[in-house]
């Protein structure tokens, strides 16, 4: 975990993990567990990925990002849209589903931080997330679901809240 300006309040990784598990359970059920994944600190997300971010601003400032493996993003989308196995999720379907995923995680993270704050609409991209250089990693959770990696990270402004 990289250095954070001490005065900025950051979410506990335990809470971020619990929120992610709740979202997972609701979307994918409990037929397979989300397991922790050991990743070296500072290592970028290492697989072909989808990423989605939502910004919290107001009483607390931060960005919540979800990155996930390509195959997993497609399975999640198929599941959410209840597409039959022989059909393909389009890229726009995947963007939509992954956006809703980060919306749920982000909204719940927001509720754990000082408020009132607003949650932005999700921004979704095919590929790894790009983090702005004036933000610092506050918390990161690496998980794996049926061999497919997922990462949730929370960044806060480097300078602390204005």
């Amino acid at each position: 975990m990289s250095a954070v300006v001490p005065e900025v309040e950051v979410p506990a990784s335990e809470d971020v993990l619990a929120v992610t598990e709740d979202v997972w359970m609701a979307l994918l059920g409990d037929d397979a567990p989300l397991l922790p994944r050991t990743v070296a600190p500072g290592a970028p997300f290492d697989v072909a990925a989808w990423s989605a971010a939502t910004t919290i601003s107001g009483g607390w400032q931060g960005v919540v990002t979800v990155e996930l493996d390509e195959a997993l993003a497609r399975r999640l989308t198929m599941r959410m849209l209840a597409l039959p196995a022989d059909e393909q999720a389009s890229d726009s379907d995947v963007a939509d589903a992954v956006g809703e995923l980060v919306n749920m995680v982000g909204g719940n993270v927001k509720s754990l931080m000082p408020g009132p704050s607003v949650l932005s609409l999700p921004a979704v991209a095919a590929g790894r997330a790009a983090f702005s250089s004036d933000s610092a990693l506050a918390c990161r959770v690496d998980l794996v679901w049926q061999d497919a990696p997922v990462r949730v990270s929370v960044h806060v402004p480097q300078e602390g809240p204005r």
Binding site: D22, D93, D96, G107, K110, S111, G115, L119
Partner: protein
């Protein structure tokens, strides 16, 4: 019974649609509050709206305020289904006229339970 599902995510609309279709609701959908209002002005008035909070164009909170401002829609039941989960947001939504509130993420049972609390499906 007719349900209107108002959410900017297609995937979320699809999840909600399956839950209420299983309860024999007919459904219509809108991707934001304004689109939903347009449909209602055009005569598609549901028994219940399942409405997200954060959406482009018109958010769910504004939508609820607009629906409550029109006496012709007095009988429309409004249920928020949103990731906004601060106590203060729930209080605001109820004060604006929402009847029920489901926090995302939810399991299908949560939606069914709330609809039956509202007397829209048999317990």
């Amino acid at each position: 019974m007719r349900a209107m599902i108002i959410d900017d995510s297609r995937a979320m609309r699809s999840i909600l649609r399956r839950i209420v279709t299983d309860l024999d609701f007919e459904t219509s959908e809108a991707e934001h509050g304004q689109a939903a209002l347009d449909q209602m002005y055009a005569g598609v008035v549901p028994d219940v709206c399942l409405v997200d909070w954060n959406m482009p164009v018109m958010d769910g909170y504004t939508f609820i305020t607009e629906v409550r401002a029109n006496p012709e829609w007095r009988d429309v039941t409004l249920m928020m289904v949103t990731t906004e989960s601060e106590q203060r947001q729930i209080v605001r939504a109820l004060a604006a006229g929402a009847h029920e509130y489901v926090i995302k993420p939810f399991t299908p049972d949560a939606i069914v339970d709330k609809l039956s609390l509202l007397g829209l499906v048999p317990a």
